[in-house]
Subunit: 423 residues, 2 copies
């Protein structure tokens, strides 16, 4: 079978499974999720053996330590995947929820019912645990899933897929509800994103390059998460303690996450007071500062190392590293302009005590999350009460911000009448 | 300036206008809508003169009477457009609405704020009144609009655009908030759908061919309305009066609309009782019936003319005409399978008195509107209480069913803290 035929077969099977899944009771979906966790527990040796093959190949191919770390499945990693499955089982089922029911003057009663999207295609890179995240969220939201992981994790993903299939079968669900593409041929991705008859939406998980490539070529809607170039703006009416705590937390909580602050903006009237103290704290964390001219005048002398002049590229950068761009801005409007121009529309925060400016910032910043006096680190599905997330969308269409179960559903109108006809 | 340069200029201007519009107070948007209506009232002779040029050219090009009718602007048509503007001014402003505000265990308070999409591109065919519908809905929802009408209506659309611009200026809004493409070069459409940096979403309005072409080529998300192949299923527990009234109404209320019934499905156990009477009523309306074998056995002899055998194509057809496909089905599951296979996921109804089957049909039919004991003719933005609509989406992503102001917006997360940092 050619790759095209193979992918079409997966698509047809997914479409058929999706019709069944859309009608599957909550308890049956939950039973499958719990059975998957049990299957993983029983398959620990097989999972670790499969992963060892991937690791050996990756080492032979010279992958760096960080990549190997992302690829590795440990016993603790299996525990985490099992816990993830159980957490998704515990989440409320979004399917069938009816909202906004009301009577219209004609006498009909109308509401909106939440329904699955149908078939979701997920394309991801090295982390094998994405296989479980994606499978569980798609299943719980009533969608069939076609998963295409990185070729470097193919043995691991197939071993995880076996546990997923076992769980589906044990709960009496169609085995094609979750399918893991079993070829490493790159043409499989090209096909997956070009079958609108079988796939309703694509969610790419990975680097910006992967996502841009997929978005450009896809003939199916794509829920995108490009990058997280998050800002904190310290307003001239910022509380000192909040300004310092939030700046430190947003940068240093974790470096490699999309909700980490990458640029700190400081109002000119407060720069001399706030920047040296914040810089001192960040230098204790060995964070390198890339600063504008004004900030350099304030910091350049006091801190010999770790402060260098920023270039235009720094304002666009998502470092995902202990590096921070710092810019002194004239006022809040200047900060808003900077964020909307250079930012990635992910998460941006203001620190201020001023009511009117808080309202203006909230309204004017065009990002998926806008915060007042809180760390950008809160931008996360669990912190928002959505449960596990399949990604954080920087798109505006369909889903924005953390995408959990609800982002994998749509709404249809339901109309109840009593023989009503329209004049 | 080349067409590409011209479209890029429109895009840049729209992007700048969108930033301003997102922050524009409701009263100012409403003032612009009312001023547009007044400008149209004052420009009646100019509108009718411009339209006369289009009509003359269309007649010379041999357009048929129906096309000429769609193209014609009458005084009553101007009244209707003015009334439409005032109705949109009266609708609640969706922008800035905050919902789902709650405190999380961390202490942050989180909600969702409704925000404009940004720049909306609308591509449409001959009806010049779409220019006003689209301009008013985009403006009220805080979006900049780039409108590309049919070349056969270009003089009419430019004359309407002048009124729109006058209204914007009178209310102190950026004149580039609504731009009507002033070239009939087809390359303009190709550009409009390929500028994700300037255009956030495309809404095509027109025939299925236009929409399929645009969806295929677009590099920007498209809110699609393909076709309306709507079904009414008469269940074996249907009330006779409701079954007859709804069937007649759904077919004959208007023929050329997307919510008209195109296929009638009847449970085998009730076909002999219901079909002859419904056929008799429909024949009074001169509706041609394209029937399956079983229906033919019931109707073929009694009604000499207007009953012919259906082909496979009839089950897919959106006639938009006094034609109805009729099929006898074994039971409700057979009806659901038929609808999900042949339908266009627009609007489908069941007539039944059975509670359990009503619930099952509601859940299993994969359409943007699903109805019980009500005519498909209710599928409409006004009837649903959404106000004017820019189209009825048969997509699942982003917007499904009638797309009004809310469908032209997105939601961002807003987070309020008091210096909160994430552990």
């Amino acid at each position: 079978m050619s790759v095209i035929e193979y992918m079409h077969t997966l698509g047809q099977q997914a479409r058929a499974a999706a019709a069944a899944l859309a009608q599957t009771p909550t308890a049956q979906k939950n039973a499958a999720l719990v059975a998957m966790a049990e299957a993983m527990d029983a398959a620990r040796p097989a999972l670790i053996a499969a992963n060892a093959k991937d690791l050996a190949a990756a080492e032979a191919n010279g992958l760096d330590a960080a990549m190997l770390d992302r690829l590795r499945i440990t016993d603790a990693g299996i525990d985490a995947m099992m816990e993830g499955l159980r957490q998704v089982a515990d989440l409320a089922d979004p399917v069938g929820e009816i909202t906004d029911m009301s009577y219209r003057p004609s006498g009909i009663q109308i509401g909106k019912m939440r329904v699955p999207l149908g078939v979701v295609g997920i394309i991801y890179e090295s982390r094998p645990n994405v296989t479980i995240d994606a499978a569980s969220l798609c299943l719980k939201s009533g969608n069939a899933a076609i998963l295409r992981g990185g070729s470097e994790a193919s043995h691991s993903n197939q071993a995880i897929a076996a546990c997923v299939t076992a769980g589906l079968q044990q709960a009496g669900l169609p085995e094609y509800a979750v399918q893991v593409v079993n070829t490493t041929d790159r043409e499989a991705v090209g096909q997956l994103i070009s079958m609108p008859e079988y796939v309703d939406v694509i969610v790419p998980r990975g680097g910006k390059g992967l996502i841009e490539r997929i978005s450009k070529d896809a003939r199916v809607p794509v829920i995108k998460h490009l990058d997280g170039n998050c800002h904190v703006y310290l307003d001239d009416e910022a509380d000192v303690t909040k300004a310092i705590n939030i700046s430190i937390n947003a940068k240093t909580r974790r470096y490699g996450v999309c909700n980490a602050m990458e640029t700190l903006l400081v109002s000119a009237s407060r720069a001399a007071e706030l920047l040296p103290e914040i810089a001192q704290h960040l230098q204790e964390f060995e964070v390198e500062l890339r600063v504008c001219e004004q900030a350099n005048a304030l910091l350049g002398k006091s801190s010999s190392a770790g402060v260098i002049a920023a270039s235009e590229d720094d304002w666009y950068a998502e470092y995902l590293a202990p590096i921070l761009a710092v810019k002194v801005v004239a006022d809040m409007q200047d900060a808003i302009n900077h964020i909307n121009k250079y930012g990635s529309h992910h998460t941006d925060a203001i620190v201020t005590e001023n009511y009117t400016k808080a309202r203006q910032f909230m309204s004017a910043v065009d990002s998926s999350s806008v915060m007042v006096n809180a760390s950008t680190g809160f931008a996360d599905g669990f912190e928002y009460g959505l449960g596990a997330e399949i990604g954080i969308s920087t798109d505006k269409i369909h889903a924005r911000g953390p995408v959990g179960l609800q982002g994998l559903t749509s709404q249809k109108y339901v109309v109840f009448g009593d023989g009503h006809t329209r004049p």
